[in-house]
């Protein structure tokens, strides 16, 4: 019965990108942003998260499993497309290509980021302000994190736009246009939050 799963898989892929992954992204960036209010504020927030009840279960259900499905199915989607920007250089076709490109960049970034923080924490490292400051003492890592975070935010903001189309929330061209402006604001705002947090550690 592996037949006719595509519709359900695609819809699930679209849904998971917003709930819970998108919500988690906003939450994560907000916590990072506390670094701009000083080392203690940031460390306080991080410790608060560490007290999450059944943390490992929450992590798997809300973060890892949805991201694994979204990533694996996303790679399949990205590589079944044949980009044709050379012949059709429309705005939405650019977004189509960038959505796939930023997805791949975000995945590479995420694997590295999880290894560098969460896996190290599981092996006994202390996750705090100093850990991030240590990572960002390498200027290459600053660039890598900026690219990774901007990619993730673009992928989320533009994904929010296509989520609205895929679930039939925005049908008319005008509603889709308004959604384009809305998601642009989301992109700019979250990018500001994300990048300013990085520089708080530098």
């Amino acid at each position: 019965m592996a037949k006719n799963r595509e519709f359900g898989n695609r819809r699930l892929h679209s849904l998971l990108g917003v709930i819970p992954i998108g919500l988690f992204l906003i939450f994560h960036l907000s916590v990072n942003f506390m670094a701009t209010k000083g080392e203690e504020t940031f460390n306080g927030a991080v410790h608060l998260i560490e007290y999450t009840p059944v943390k490992l279960l929450v992590e798997w259900v809300v973060i890892y499993l949805p991201i694994i499905f979204h990533a694996v199915y996303g790679i399949y989607i990205a590589f079944t497309a044949k980009n044709n920007l050379g012949r059709f250089s429309f705005f939405r076709n650019w977004m189509f290509m960038l959505q796939r490109l930023t997805g791949i960049i975000t995945l590479i970034f995420l694997v590295w980021h999880i290894w560098e923080t969460r896996v190290q924490a599981a092996m006994g490292a202390e996750v705090d302000f100093d850990m991030m400051a240590e990572i960002f003492s390498n200027p290459f890592m600053i660039v890598f994190y900026i690219v990774g975070i901007i990619s993730a935010i673009f992928h989320f903001a533009n994904g929010l736009w296509s989520f609205a189309v895929s679930w039939g929330l925005t049908v008319s061209p005008k509603s889709q246009k308004i959604m384009t402006y809305f998601t642009l604001i989301v992109f700019v705002l979250l990018s500001y939050i994300g990048v300013s947090a990085i520089f708080a550690f530098v």
């Binding site: 037949k3 519709f7 059709f88 189309v165 049908v171």
Partner: protein, 257 residues
């Protein structure tokens, strides 16, 4: 003086040719004397009369499809200067030279510029893009369609199965089984018809199967490329809404028939 000037003016063509469905494509160049109001088809006819390339090589006549010559049948679609469109309405005066002609490779090439568009007709059969009114007895007149809705539906009915939207779509390719925008918009057309609506759920369930609606990646090239200006992406988004409701009905059950 004006006459000698028009005599020396020429039109250059670079045409992608292919002898059999499996053989390798190759380019041939042709030069024709310019005539006013020329279009790509009249140029191809001119080449057919005397198939000699720029290099002086005698070659075979170019194969292409055509029928109505007024952009309503969709048969003469090909890639002209990189854009898929109908060759009957491609006026030489409006084209950059040399004019490059190539087949729409999304479809299997039969020969030269001729492609096999049957996958689109198969899709129309698959989604039942018609209104079933046959029975063993006279069913009488069906429900009337409001005039405003008829005018709206007329826009969707302009589809001529030309294949331009499939050629423009990045998700319609050899790696994917996506049926493309063309049959999807027809589902919306026939679901909107008061008699056609009797088979609405059936059509929706068909496009919810593999290779259907969900494969759309929202590049929206189709709506930008459609020669008839059909609101293809609006149709797709509207069907996304319809199928979202349909999937809940399928899963949870519904008292609606």
């Amino acid at each position: 003086m004006v006459e000698t000037k028009s005599e020396t003016k020429t039109v250059r063509f670079i045409i992608t040719r292919q002898d059999t469905p499996d053989s390798a494509p190759y380019d041939e160049e042709f030069e024709l004397a310019y005539r006013p109001n020329m279009n790509v088809i009249s140029a191809l006819m001119e080449i057919r009369r005397n198939p000699v390339t720029v290099q002086g090589k005698h070659t075979t006549a170019i194969a292409w499809d055509m029928n109505c010559l007024e952009e309503v049948c969709g048969a003469c679609s090909m890639v002209i200067n990189g854009k898929p469109r109908q060759s009957c309405t491609a006026l030489i005066d409006q084209l950059e030279q040399p004019v490059r002609l190539a087949p729409m490779r999304t479809f299997p090439v039969v020969r030269d510029l001729q492609v096999d568009r049957s996958r689109m007709f198969d899709s129309l059969k698959k989604v039942k893009a018609w209104i079933p009114i046959d029975g063993t007895y006279n069913l009488g007149p069906g429900p009337r369609m409001p005039e405003k809705k008829r005018q709206w539906a007329y826009e969707l009915s302009k589809c001529m199965t030309c294949g331009v939207c499939l050629e423009a779509c990045p998700n319609v390719n050899s790696n994917s089984n996506f049926m493309g925008p063309q049959p999807l918009s027809q589902v919306r057309l026939f679901n909107a018809h008061p008699t056609g609506a009797m088979n609405k759920a059936e059509r929706l369930n068909t496009i919810m199967s593999d290779g259907g609606l969900a494969n759309c990646g929202n590049s929206q090239n189709c709506v930008q490329s459609c020669p008839k200006g059909i609101p293809l992406t609006t149709s797709i988004a509207a069907l996304n809404r319809d199928t979202a409701i349909q999937q809940f009905r399928n899963f949870f059950g519904s008292d609606e028939v």
